[in-house]
Amino acid sequence: MLWQALGLGLGYNATLVTLGAAMLGIAAGATGVFLYLARRALVSDAIGHATLPGVVAGFLVMVAFGGEGRFLPGLMLGAALSAGLGLACVSWLTARTRLHEDAAIGAVLSVFFGAGVVLLTVVQVLETGRQAGLETFLLGATAGMLRAEALSIAAGGAAVLALVVLLRRPMVLVAFDPEHAAGQGINLRAVDLAMMGLALAITVVGLKVVGVVLIVALLIIPPVAARLWSERVGTVVLLAGGIGGLSGYFGAALSATAPDLPTGPLIVLASFALFTFSLLFAPARGVVAAGLRHWRFQRRVHLRQGLLALASGQPVYEPLTLRLMRGRGLVRPDGVATDKGRAWAARARLDERRWHMLRSLPEFEAAAARHDGLSPLSEVLTPDQIAALDHHLGPEGAL
């Protein structure tokens, strides 16, 4: 069943839904990168929660006009309107009062969500005997989704993705250096508005699949995970899109395998799994890489200190240092230096003396700033520079 779902073998509709969720994930991941870089990731939490009153009000309006209350485009329009209002409240509170953005976000998300809950109970009262099913918008559901709905979600995701590609340059500039961007003639307000508009669009498109409470995760987790892998914006956007797409795909496919598996939480957990993997195994910023770096550094320090001790004829007692030196054949098991050990020790001492001299000479100031007490000088200076340094060391320098 699981392999069937992952291989898109659960029928035409389930396949459409899975692909739609993947498209949504790609677009959300790519959009979220810009929010994350601008340090405004949590604004999307306000947007997500602020859609609820719009969804329910849209339902009420459509029912009042005698229509089908669950007509998705109508609900999405309502969601977009109330999320836009919420967004406007956040910027207004931040700009026009002394409150900071985090307080504005929290206030808007809780108040709009509260108003949405009030409206939900109104719907429950009006709809005695018939379930409106609006609760599925809280946590997202793909079960029983119509073909047209799945298609419109995929199309909406693709449209947002296209806009992100179009607007990527100004958004990157503004995220990294707003002053410079303004100097380049970029309209900061317009770019900010566009960025928030894209986040809003993703939220509205993803509402049905992920739900109002968790949609923020699709805009935050993939970018944060992608950021761990690369320092380049283009790569981060591509990776975030990929991570978001995979999350959407796996989450939707898994949730199709059993009736009790809600789609939104599964998509979020899939992206969290990818995040955890990134946190552990990313090459530069991952935990494993950092651990390895620390381990190598520690051994280099021990080895260096051991060699310097040998060079000055002092005995080495520290067990790790002894083990490292024995392993390299630098000392005999009884701790006496071998020929190789004496040669290495002499080289280490020369290096140390050169470093010492270098730090006292003003012309090497730039190189001295790179001194970490470990790197061999030959990695930092050219042979000519080393010769000049040895000149200062005097006759005993070439020991």
């Binding site: 994350y36 206030a107 809780s110 809950v117 409470v213 995760a217 761990l228 009790d260 946190l279």
Partner: protein, 305 residues
Amino acid sequence: MGAEFVMLSLTPLVIGVLAALACALPGNFLLLRRQALIGDAISHVVLPGIVVAFLLSGRVAAVPMMLGAGGAALVSVALIEVIRRLGRIEPGAAMGVVFTAMFAGGVLLLEQSAASGVHLDVQHALYGNLESLIWLDGDGWGALLDGQALSGLPPELTRMAVVALAVVLFTAVFWRALVIATFDEGFARTLGLPVRALSLALVAVAAMAAVAAFDAVGSIIVIAMFICPPAAARLMTDRMGGQVAWSVGFATLSAILGYVLAGYGPLWLGYESAVSAAGMIATVSGVILALAALAGPRRRGIAPM
């Protein structure tokens, strides 16, 4: 305003007010420390804790659930710290990653275990069920003096009262230290105040209030009360004491007005059923904040000297 009020409305009203107070008090300090969204995060992460506690203990009881919720809050704080440090990720985003993932995990666990017919669902977690906390033995105001009837009070009331009292005591006892550490951490350090311990204690107290309020009234009130009354109060005055006093007033007003509007508002408009009290309390607190933002005397900042 007789027996019916005491039986049906008095206890939810008191619980609502106590929950609002317990959240608004620490909310004042969190707001000034720009940690306002901690309430949001805590109220999301307690869900998996409560579900796990239920799955382990096998019953819907207060003590294991409070322990589970507290444990989950601790786990989330630790996780946020780990992710922030190890991945060098900014705190807001780290928080966003952790609380959404933990909430998703909680929902999934809940849906998986709900098959066995449990009295616990996501809607309850989000917006609670304040209206159901009625006092069946309270057949009139006289019942307040009747020991037997008093023992029939909903246990949430006692719990909420204890927590609210603890929050008030914490705020009163550490008032000076909290105020100094909030406004000028460097100065607080030179005075020898344990700044880190204070800020941890503040988060712990906030978590305790959130967990107790969550159990009684759902997470939506928790978030709204952590932020809206203190934020509105901040727009009214420059003085910390004044801000706390205003926030207490706003929180109480939101709880009472919200409950009354939710319970009786639809009746006045000619409908038969009430709407969600938790949602209405949050809405009222938002209206108060909007009014303060439009007309509060200190909405723009400190008054000129």
